[in-house]
């Protein structure tokens, strides 16, 4: 966003034709934020289709291929069969990589982080899967039914001690988080609001693996939340939270931080919050405006976010047309700090700068080496084959190709020269030398950005 632009203006539609049409850089930037990485073919397709078509394709439900459905069913059933959360993780990673609706999966992760629930306490594959289904159902839909659904979700009720919330001994865990973490953020409610809300949620329990309203344990007296006094139940409290001005602001800030810029200013947050309120929490139109905005394509937003472990690992798999070994990727992702279905706390992953530490940067480099030169984490497509479509086979052309694919930026001339020189002078077969170049690019600091 340029200094002269107002926040509201920054959310106006980006018109690529004013700049000669959507560039490959634009297309790559868009795809990297809508999914995990992008293949050369996907980038070419987006470049040809243009911004609106690409965006609509990602925002509109696409039919899944029979092969995907077959593998998806198999992996999910196996997770139920074994009861092992690692199998459910593999199922979700497979969806993130292979679904025809990758944005839905990315948004599902966004909401999984928002409603962070861990199997470490829930200890149930079916319950974690059911929560994931609920999230996916509303991921690009409306936040209202999602928040209402989450208040009745079995995994959430186990995670935040729903069964301990009783009429005479209210447990405030869910009431506190529904305000602090799920809708309003700190500072937008009082301790009394929490105590009263906890009474409203009393009796919302789990019985025989299902949500159960226990009337004997529900406090049916009058409560006062956000200054409104009435005989409130849990749904009433959720609606009151959604009606607070802080709610769309909270969501706007999270959306901007996750998908656009790492530190959005208050003006931008307010501007997007207005759009969320305008669309009454319907996410698809909000995302359409956000991903098609001048802000999204501004220089400040490009390669401005630190890759999450999932962006790093799945992005590399996708960009390099890999055959991933998901069962080996799961512990790697955990080691890098992003273990899906097992977020570290009820706050989820802080992300951003915290993804990088002196230890994790080494692990990230080791991942690149493992993937490109080994087969423990999977195998990448044959580089010789991948570069065969390039106009010429010179080292400079190959280095530029991978810099575009993996960094989405032009290399400094001396960097380009040194990488080309490495490829010309290093030992081994051509394919091995190309792998060396890919590995070097993937260990550059710029590769940590998306």
């Amino acid at each position: 966003m340029s200094d002269s632009q107002t926040p509201a203006a920054a959310l106006r539609p980006y018109d690529p034709s004013a700049r000669g049409g959507l560039t490959r850089r634009d297309a790559t930037h868009l795809l990297w934020r809508l999914q995990y990485g992008a293949t050369q073919a996907e980038i070419d397709q987006a470049f040809t289709a243009g911004l609106q078509n690409t965006l609509e394709r990602r925002l509109t439900p696409q039919p899944e291929s029979p092969q995907f459905q077959s593998a998806d069913n198999l992996l999910r059933r196996t997770a139920y069969d074994t009861g092992n959360i690692a199998d459910l993780k593999a199922w979700w990673l497979y969806r993130m990589l292979h679904s025809a609706n990758p944005l839905v999966e990315k948004l599902s992760l966004f909401w999984h982080n928002h409603f962070a629930t861990s199997n470490a306490k829930v200890q149930s594959v079916p319950n974690m899967a059911a929560q994931n289904d609920l999230i996916r159902q509303h991921a690009a839909g409306n936040f209202r039914p999602l928040l209402h659904g989450m208040a009745r979700d079995v995994a959430m009720l186990v995670w935040l001690d729903g069964n301990a919330n009783r009429k005479r001994q209210p447990n405030e865990n869910f009431a506190r988080e529904v305000m602090e973490l799920f809708s309003l953020d700190v500072g937008n409610y009082t301790e009394r609001d929490i105590k009263e809300a906890a009474r409203a949620f009393s009796g919302w329990q789990v019985r025989d693996g299902k949500f159960w309203f226990n009337p004997l344990q529900h406090d049916s007296g009058s409560k006062t939340v956000f200054g409104k006094s009435a005989v409130l139940n849990g749904d009433d409290v959720v609606d009151l939270c959604l009606a607070q001005p802080a709610c769309p602001r909270f969501l706007a800030q999270k959306l901007l931080r996750t998908f656009v810029v790492s530190a959005p200013d208050a003006g931008l947050i307010d501007a997007l919050a207005q759009r969320i309120r305008f669309h009454d929490f319907a996410m698809t139109p909000v995302l359409r405006e956000l991903f098609g905005s001048q802000l999204f394509f501004s220089p400040e937003a490009r390669t401005a976010l630190i890759k999450s472990p999932l962006d790093l690992v799945l992005g590399a798999y996708r960009s390099l047309d890999s055959h991933p070994k998901l069962s080996n990727a799961i512990p790697l992702l955990a080691a890098l700090g992003q273990d899906v279905f097992e977020p570290p706390t009820v706050k989820g992953w802080d992300g951003g700068r915290l993804w990088i530490s002196s230890a994790s940067i080494l692990q990230r480099a080791n991942f690149a080496t493992d993937l490109v030169t080994g087969n423990r984490l999977g195998t990448i497509a044959d580089p010789d084959q991948s570069v065969s479509q390039l106009p010429d086979g010179t080292s400079e052309t190959i280095v530029r190709h991978y810099a575009d694919l993996l960094l989405n930026r032009d290399l400094e001339p001396d960097v380009l020269s040194r990488l080309a020189g490495y490829m010309n002078q290093s030992q081994g077969a051509r394919e091995q030398r190309i792998r060396g170049v890919i590995q070097l690019i993937m260990t550059m600091p710029e590769y940590q950005l998306v």
């Binding site: 092969q67 992996l75 059933r77 196996t78 069969d81 199998d87 497979y94 055959h323 998901l326």
Partner: protein, 604 residues
Amino acid sequence: MSHRVFSLCQSGLRPTALLAAFVALLLGHASSAALADPATTPAIQVQAGKSDSLAGSLPAGATGYAEITGLGHLLERLQNSSYLQTLKSTPQFHELEKAPQYQQVDAVRKIVEAQLGMNLWKAAEELFGGRLALAVYPKSDGNPVGNAVAVLRGANPAVLTQVRERIEPFLSLANAQPEASDVIPGTKLFSNGGQAFVAWGDSWLAAASTRELLDKSLGLLSGKEQGALANDEAFRGMSAKMGSEHVVRAFANMGLLTKAKGSRLTPEKVDNPVVSMLVGGILELAAASPYVGLALDVSDHRFVVTSGIAGDSRQLDEAHRVFFSDPAGPGTPDIPQLPSLIGGFTFHLDLANWYKQREKLLEPQVLPGFDQFETGIANLLPGKDVGEDIVPLIGRNVTFVAAPQDYSHLDGKPGVKLPGFGLVIELAKAEEGGDLFQLFFQTISAILNLASGQQKHEPWVMKSESYKDIQISYGRYLKKPVGNQLPLVFNFMPASARVGNKFIISSSIETCRQLIDQLQSPTRGPGRPNRNLDFEVHPAALADILEANREVFQARSIQQGSDSKKAEAEFSTLLELIRFFDSFRLSTNVLPEAFQVQLEGSWK
């Protein structure tokens, strides 16, 4: 008849590797079907060559020896077998064909075939139609296998001549100079550094790492010399016990190897209790044995690998006698043939004495583990000492069987279907042992029930029933778990019973009933030879249980990078390959003056 001797650089001749490859090929080819008792099965007809063993053409004093008879015939069968065709039609093989390494090897094969002027399979069949033997000898530097001699006899003369004529120009290029040999008139000797030598006639070939060994071999081949390996005492002992006509025969002279090493070949103590239980006796017997022999026999649908170790187990010290049953008796009982048996394992061990003698049998570092074990048992069975009160109640035979699990305890089935199992423990004191194991069973059941309750699973109650006058204790869920993807733990519902001096613990009441049936009226008759250990697998039943978990295996394959179609094809191929076999059995036999290990397999 012309004879020539060539000296080759060592890097060009690797007879040991060649032999290993052939044996691997043979073993890889062989698969299994219905097992048969050695006593009731006719001896396998060996595809023997026309001549006698090549041990008569190899110099005495070998530390090791291996001989293959009729390899060409086996290669021909391998080439024409449906198993190979199945393997070649698998997606994995098609993928392998695309690999650069495969293509490089295939290109080399084509070059070699063009140079030889014949198909390599055909060449191998014709060249190895007779006998091929390799013997290794000590070297002056102390290496017990530093020298080697290989002899091939019975090759098709026309093919051998063709191969020789095509190869000779390359030998000349490699500076292998021909020399005359005094041993066989007319034979030329080629010397190039004196590191390896090869000589061939119309239908034979000999190679050695020294000129002296080659000359001795040539002398033995021509009948001019005495002192063949066949006359060595240890070798004669092996031949007498194991016979001389087998598809593959191997021999290790333990006396010479021990002498070369300067100490016993096998460890006196092992550092793993399970290894000690299974092979502790074999290791001890082998250390004092003059030889270890091995034989492979192959018939149309069956193979048998037999390994023999000379020695009388009854002469071992007290600590090591615990591993062996009486050679005059049947040893361990037959594996109960439950319906759709997947596999079974039974072995003989004087556990009480093994436990007492553990300090003599095991490395000191593993002994503290026994103390921890005793502490754990003491928590379960207070007031009992393992060494004094528990182990002496156990008899000398333990049997384990795996069979399809019965899910009558569920209203549905588990997501992952594990095979059911049964454990039959022979009791040294039937009443006392039965009571103790029943107490143990009930204690473990109670603990499992508590753990199950903690995981919010259905609790069970202990029930009992009388089956053919035997009292069975078993668990029953208060409310049958419902569903077709029940957690893993729901596979099992324990049951126990005592039949005479045998105590049964099984994973379901139905398996327990089947074991009672078998123990009361065994399906296999008495009179078979001794068996100290018996392990058998029924591939068809194994394939069935794998098939029942097909989705889990295919999902694992997808998790490892396959797509769903490929995962399905891979798993189907695996099942097809398993079902190609009928049976596998590994057994050991205690004989009056030897110990025998036998691996049998049969295929369709």
